[in-house]
């Protein structure tokens, strides 16, 4: 089953079906209900019924669908995910030391921070 991380969030491929008035995505042989209205309008879900979809999943063991879009995603960007209030721990991704070092140099060269202060920054110290 295709699974990838988009912006640190797990996304999976599944299939959307409609059971009475509820919408259900089957992912990894599990059926998860899609919260209508919170992340996507009912009319948009109707257009995807019976089709393969990509879902964004959040919440660890108690996984919840926080985004849904058609598979394969259209357009230049992977897709956009509209999610309700985002808890900080779910957002956290560590940035690579090389990116940080480069930005520290930029900040020094643009005199946003001093050379002395830059030496205090411990890029990569958290391992």
């Amino acid at each position: 089953m295709p699974e990838e991380k988009i912006l640190g969030m797990v996304t999976k491929k599944g299939k959307l079906s409609k059971v009475r008035n509820t919408y259900v995505v089957t992912v990894d042989r599990k059926r998860v209900q899609v919260p209508v209205g919170e992340i996507i309008a009912k009319a948009d879900l109707d257009k995807m019924v019976g089709k393969e979809v990509q879902v964004a999943i959040s919440g660890g063991k108690k996984a919840a669908i926080v985004g849904i879009g058609l598979w394969p995603p259209a357009g230049p960007a992977p897709c956009y995910w509209i999610i309700c209030y985002i808890p900080v721990p779910d957002l956290i991704t560590q940035i690579g030391p090389s990116i940080r070092e480069s930005l520290v140099r930029t900040m020094v060269s643009e005199k946003i921070i001093t050379e002395e202060f830059a030496k205090e920054i411990n890029v990569g110290s958290r391992g």
Binding site: L7, G8, P35, V36, G37, E38, I39, I40, A41, K42, A43, D44, K62, G75, P76, A77, P78, C79, Y80, W81, I82, I83, C84, Y85, I86, P87, V88, P89, L91, I92, T93, Q94, I95, G96, I99, R100, L103, V104, T106, M107, I112, I113, F117, E120, I121, N122, V123, S125, R126
Partner: protein
């Protein structure tokens, strides 16, 4: 609603109303001398723990955000964070960052998460918006957090003055060790309304700031959330594929009910509406009661004919802002009035 409310996973606890900053756009309803305590003393550390445990008995709580005011003004904040951890919950301290010293940081558990505000990469502008000369202290705090092996999320609140500083501010945050970024537009409340014309960014300025954030998210792979709702009639979130947009959870399991520093429960940290007294009533009873249900119910009249694909997510933007500014949730988010300009059809 009761079943939904019992699914609440997050809680905000305002541990103090005091603050050492005077941010131009501050929305806290007790600002400018409006009294909120009604003669009640602030909760003690033990009371805070008891109330969090009380909520946990009624809901699958996983995370507590400690806010204020400035929460670091409470000397026992590190112990409150430890209590939360000992109760099996995660915490985030929402702070302006100016009071984090080596000695008080040492009292926090390693791996603590802080959400720290930075308005600009330029000292003068950050200090102007914060109302205090604190820029250097904030940067020093961010370095300390990393040395402590804890983590921080950068929170940049956008107003008219700093929209053009967003990308560089995010880059400064990443350089200093930010693991994620919140780019939130300012949210209006009654006492900020007189300043709104000078502070609320136009839709085009907001769009420009969001494009800068979107570019940073794509370039550096950092997660950037825009968690204060932006109605699509102001700026369409679909223009920004790398940003995560939040909407008002309106009482769903994603809601973040807020315990004020005296134990009164409110719908969120932006609202001054008191739903109940958590010291006397149980959480489930309050959040499934009529007052709570009525708070989330109305969709503004002006929004009922909306045809935008995101209308069911938006539902008028931030109902608490409408309530605070206009005294009714039947009107749409006041940000629309100040920021909106014609946008191309979806």
């Amino acid at each position: 609603m009761a079943a939904e409310a019992s699914g609440v996973k997050r809680l905000v606890v305002e541990v103090t109303e005091g603050c050492n900053h005077a941010c131009l756009h501050c929305y806290n309803y007790w600002r400018n001398g409006r009294r909120s305590r009604r003669g009640r003393p602030a909760l003690s550390r033990k009371e805070i723990r008891n109330l969090i445990q009380k909520v946990k008995r009624d809901a699958p709580l996983t995370q507590v955000a400690l806010s204020g005011g400035e929460p670091l003004l409470r000397k026992d904040l590190p112990e409150i964070v430890c209590d939360i951890r000992d109760d099996g919950l995660s915490s985030v301290v929402i702070t302006n960052g100016a009071l984090l010293t080596d000695s008080n940081l040492d009292r926090y558990p390693v791996g603590s998460i802080f959400e720290v505000t930075l308005f600009s990469y330029k000292a003068e502008l950050h200090n102007h918006i914060a109302g205090r000369p604190v820029f250097n202290r904030v940067l020093e705090s961010l370095v300390r957090i990393e040395k402590h092996k804890s983590r921080f999320v950068l929170a940049c609140v956008i107003n008219k003055l700093n929209t053009h500083h967003v990308q560089r501010t995010i880059e400064l945050g990443i350089a200093l060790g930010a693991d994620a970024v919140l780019v939130n537009r300012m949210n209006l409340s009654r006492h900020v309304l007189p300043l709104a014309a000078g502070l609320v960014p136009s839709a085009s300025a907001l769009r420009e700031a969001l494009h800068a954030a979107d570019e940073a998210a794509a370039k550096y792979g950092i997660m950037i959330a825009v968690s204060v709702p932006i109605p699509p009639c102001v700026v369409d979130p679909r223009e920004f594929p790398h940003l995560h947009f939040g909407w008002c959870p309106r009482g769903s399991s994603e809601a973040y009910y807020t315990i004020g520093c005296t134990g009164l429960l409110r719908p969120c940290n932006h609202s001054s509406v008191v739903l109940g007294d958590l010291r006397k009533e149980n959480f489930q009873k309050i959040v499934s009661g009529n007052k709570t249900r009525e708070f989330w119910a109305p969709v503004p009249r002006e929004c009922r004919a909306c045809t935008h694909p995101l209308k069911d997510s938006c539902r008028g933007g931030c109902p608490a802002a409408s309530d605070e500014c206009y005294g009714t949730r039947e009107r749409m988010d006041p940000i629309v009035e100040f920021a909106r300009q014609p946008v191309p059809a979806a």
